[in-house]
Structures are given as C-alpha cells and as structure tokens.
C-alpha cells in the first residue's frame, strides 16, 4: 500500500486583481497544475521548489485542508477531505510558519489537550512524551506558554505535538524556515531518527537544499505547480551540475587566480568568486591552493540554492 498517491491533481484559485480604481478582474491561478506521484511507506521524501511553486498547496490537499479542483488523491488509502477525521488520527502535520499549539497555554497543557483530542492511550502518551522530551530537549521550556518560546523551541514543541499520537505519516511544510544552524541540525537529526527507528513516512517541503542533502534520498522538484524532477539529489547534481561558489577576500587586488578544479567567475577589487563542484574538489583544497598564491583575509561559500537547481533542470531540457 502506498502512503501517498496523487494522480493529475490540480488546484486553481480565483484571485481578484485590481485593474482600475474599483474595477477588479478575476484571474485563475493554477497553484498546482496536474501533479502525479506516489510515496511508499517508510520513505522520506523532500518536496522542493522555489517560493510560490505550489508546495504548501499540495500538502494542504494531502492533509484534507483544501479540496482539490480535480484529480485523484489518496493518503493511507483515504480520501483526505471526505475522510478527514479518520485521516487526521493517522497523520501528523507541521507548518513551519504557524503553530498548531495554543498560544496562551504552556506546552505541557497543549500536549495534554492533544492527548484527549487524539484519544491517545496513556501508555503511548507517556512513552512518547518521555522520548520526545529527551530527544528534543523539551524539559527546559515545557512549562512556558507557547507565545514566549523562541522559534526553534516552538518548532520542537510543534514536532512533538504532531507525533504524540504515533502518526504513520508526517507532513512538514518548511520545518526549518527561519531557524539558525544549530536548531536546523537538531531538527534534521530528529527527523532522520524518526524515519529510521519508527519507520514513519515523512514528506517535507523546503526550499533549503541542505535539508534535502541531510535527509532525503528522494526529492521531488516542483515549479509552477508541476513536478519537474523526481529522483535523488546526487543525480541532480551529477546530471545538471549544481556548482558551489567560493568567495575569497584577498589582502590586495590580484589577477584572476588560477586554481585547479575552479574557475574564476568574477573579480571585484580584492574579492574574487570561484565556481567549483563539491563532488570534484573540496573547499579546503581550493583554499590551500589559493593561500599558496596570495594572502587571504576572509572566505565564504555559497552552495547552490533551489533556484539554481531549478534553473539548471530547465536549462538542460
């Protein structure tokens, strides 16, 4: 049985645009323009794409929030909007941008309410609370009202809240958005463990390529409401060549550096941009080459972002 199955699913929004002082024109926006894919049980899939690609809209159709305009959706063999309540018991949902918790209640009270809402047996509840409390390190802020939590703490609280009832699938919409590096790493580690230890199917949307790199064997790239790639990250990189860029600030202005494995793309005074592939050469070896030729003051590395990847996928087809 598939965890998720979508066939030619569409969602069209009517949007009203101002065309004059009072005149408004109705425009149809295809947020999702015919998407098909399946996710097997136990898979961990990254759903990536630039802003406005239709990621959240897809997740909302999978979780019974939005009624699709047309097409076929099944999640755990249930039709999300018609069998919403039944499905809700078996899935977990986290939206990075907004909390599922009660603003004015301490985390602990929110959990307690969810326990009744989901009718979680007390042994399951105790076990999960203890485990998530430890792994996500909730103890220090579990008695603080949610509105006083930092974004990272709130996110950890939201994750625990979505998992208390042992869902078979976890849907995450931009779970790492706005978090600092440490918080991101912690969430990723937690999700990886969840997938391995409990076999929970995970579908997460993101526009952070690092999330995919660390977590997902399979990724679906969508743009303008369509799937433009379905496969693993390595293949994308190998086939479409996503370059990283090393930015070096030299002590003084120099001619373009000649470093094996990298090409200088731009020079601006003492600053130079070197394009390279992480698969072929490491930033460290580049740097040692550069240092042997010129004095380096500062460096920065820009990894390819999702916009790059999307552009390359388009460029090659």
């Amino acid at each position: 049985m598939n965890a998720v199955e979508l066939r030619d699913i569409r969602k069209t929004f009517n949007v009203y645009r101002r065309t004059g002082r009072i005149r408004r024109e109705r425009v149809e926006v295809d947020a999702v323009a015919g998407i098909s894919f399946t996710v097997a049980r136990g898979e961990m899939v990254g759903y990536v794409g630039p802003n406005g690609a239709g990621k959240s809209t897809t997740v909302k159709m999978l979780t019974g929030i939005l009624v699709p305009s047309s097409g076929f959706v099944r999640v755990l063999d249930l039709e999300p909007t018609r069998q919403r309540v039944e499905l809700a018991r078996r899935i977990g949902v986290v939206f990075g941008q907004r909390t599922q918790l009660w603003w004015d209640l301490p985390l602990r009270d929110s959990f307690e309410l969810l326990r009744y809402i989901y009718r979680i047996p007390s042994d399951v509840y105790e076990r999960n609370l203890a485990e998530f409390g430890k792994v996500l390190d909730l103890e220090t802020f579990i008695d603080t009202p949610v509105r006083q939590l930092s974004l990272g703490q709130r996110m950890r609280g939201d994750l625990a809240a979505a998992l208390l009832h042992d869902p078979e699938i976890l849907f995450l919409d931009e779970p790492t958005i706005g978090l600092d590096v440490v918080a991101k790493a912690r969430i990723r580690e937690f999700l990886a463990r969840l997938n391995v230890e409990r076999g929970t199917t995970v579908l997460l949307t993101t526009h952070d390529m690092d999330d995919i790199e660390r977590l997902c064997k399979r990724m679906l790239v969508i743009d303008h409401g369509r799937v433009i790639y379905d496969g693993d990250l390595q293949t994308v990189k190998a086939r479409y060549g996503a370059d990283s860029v090393l930015v070096v600030d030299l002590e003084e202005t120099a001619p373009p550096l000649d470093v094996p494995g990298a090409t200088v793309e731009r020079v601006d005074g003492p600053r130079q941009w070197l394009r390279f592939r992480r698969e072929h050469t490491s930033a460290a070896s580049l740097l040692s080459h550069i240092a042997s030729k010129a004095a380096v003051r500062d460096i920065a590395i820009q990894d390819p972002d999702i916009e790059d990847v999307v552009r390359r996928i388009y460029g090659s087809s």
């Binding site: 939005l66 939206f95 941008q97 004015d104």
Partner: protein, 266 residues
C-alpha cells in the same frame, strides 16, 4: 458523543486561560449584567407611553424578552466565537481546525469561551422572573414542559441561526456585519409580539429565520393569549421541531461552507 467530552475539555481550558488573564473578571460580568439592561430599557420606554403594545402588557412582553434573552446570551457564550471566524479564515488559521480529528463546527465554537455573557444571562433571568411574578400563568404540567422546551428550543434555534449566518464568511470576506445583523437583530426582533410586524416580516420570521418560534408562539400558549395574526394553533407547539430542522439546515450550510475554505498562500 465521546467528542462532546473533548469539546468540554477544550472549552474548560479556554475558561481557565481567561481566569488567569483577566483579573477584573467578576467586574466584567457585573458590567455585562448592568449594560445588558439597556436592551430592556428600550421596552420600558415604549410602555411609558403605551399601556399595551398590540394587546400585550409590559409583563407579557417582558416574558417574551426574558425567555428570548436568556437563550440568546447562553448561546452567545459559545456562539459568540463565530465572530472570530472571519479572522480564522482570512489568516488561514482555520487550517489548524481541519488538521485535527474533530468536527470543524465543534472546534470553531470552542475556540474561546466568553464567560462575561453570564452577566447577560442573569439579566434575562431577572426580567423573566419579574414577568412570571406579575403574570398569573395557569401553570400545569403541559405548560411547565413547554416552558422548558421553549428555552431549550430557543437556544438551539439561535445556535443554528448563528452558524448559518456566520458561515457566509466562507463565501464573502468580512460578512460579519451582515451576520451580526441577522443574529443580534433577530434576537431584538424576537422580543416583541409578532403581531406588530407586517405580514411579510411575520412570514420571514416564521419560515426563513425562525425567530417567531423562539418565544412568541410557545408564549402564546403558556400565557393563554389569542394570536392577533391568526396563525394556525399548532404552531404554538412546533418550536422543538423547528429547532431540529434548523440544526439540519445549519449543518448542511456549514458543511458546504467549509468546502469553500481556501486557506492562504504562504
């Protein structure tokens, strides 16, 4: 029905949150109690000038007012939550309601519980007790049962009107003014004998927004009054049926409305 226990718990947590927030909580209830008397003052003013209103005396109208007001304010404790529906829809927070394994209506009605309305309920009760003390109602088992059924039906009918009127928010942004004019307006209009209204308004109140069944028709029987509008005698007993029908219609409208929900882009 196990859901009912969950909703009670949700409501309970809302009430507790209010207690911890609002220090002058009791004061607010007292304030609501006093303020709500202004609604009754409108009726008193009329009777300063007239001994009777369409053959109804002050205590009789007070009976209509009191029974309708108690039910309305009791409904307001949870129904008032629907005021927040346009915000839930516009901000996309209704998403959260849809991701939980509970009915959407029950969750919307327990988003918050405004205990201050207790002040209004008490005021309605005071007026109702005053009217009963001044009227010489020929109490018998039938009348007693009808009295209880009247209040209970009124509560349900108001709830259904509340839900139906506010569901419009799923179609039209900021339909709150329209919804409020139906709910609060309906409560206001139900406090007077139907015989003062034109035939079209009476039909509207009997068959579309059934506020005539909130107190007028059952009160005719309980108070033993003749109906100047010559409505069929059986209408006096139909409030419970109307209540059930209202709920069915309201649920249907709500279900249609929720399917219209479009969340927000993010």
């Amino acid at each position: 029905m196990a859901d009912a226990a969950v909703f009670l718990r949700l409501a309970g947590s809302r009430v507790r949150a209010q207690f911890s927030y609002r220090l002058s909580f009791l004061l607010q209830i007292v304030g609501a109690f006093l303020l709500s008397f202004l609604d009754f003052v409108a009726i008193l003013v009329i009777f300063l000038h007239l001994p009777r209103l369409a053959h109804w005396t002050l205590p009789e109208v007070a009976f209509l007012y009191g029974s309708s007001y108690v039910a309305f304010k009791a409904g307001d404790v949870i129904g008032g939550n629907l005021d927040k529906l346009p915000l839930l829809i516009r901000m996309g927070t209704f998403d959260q309601v849809l991701t939980r394994p509970l009915g959407t209506l029950g969750q919307t009605l327990t988003v918050d519980i405004d205990i201050r309305h207790v002040g209004g309920i008490v005021q309605g009760l005071v007026v109702l007790l005053y009217s009963i003390s001044r009227l010489h109602i020929a109490w018998d088992p039938v009348r007693a049962v009808m009295f209880v059924a009247m209040i209970a039906s009124a509560l349900v009918i108001y709830g259904a009107i509340w839900v139906s009127a506010n569901a419009v928010s799923f179609w039209v942004m900021d339909a709150r003014e329209v919804a409020n004019s139906v709910t609060y307006g309906g409560n206001f209009l139900s406090q007077y004998p139907m015989s003062i209204y034109s035939i079209w308004m009476r039909r509207l109140f009997a068959y579309v927004i059934p506020i005539a069944f909130v107190s007028y028709y059952p009160a005719l029987y309980i108070l033993g009054k003749t109906d100047a509008t010559h409505s069929p005698f059986v209408l006096r007993f139909l409030s419970p049926l109307v209540a059930v029908a209202s709920v069915i219609v309201a649920r249907f409208i709500w279900r249609m409305a929720v399917r219209r929900y479009r969340s927000t882009g993010s």
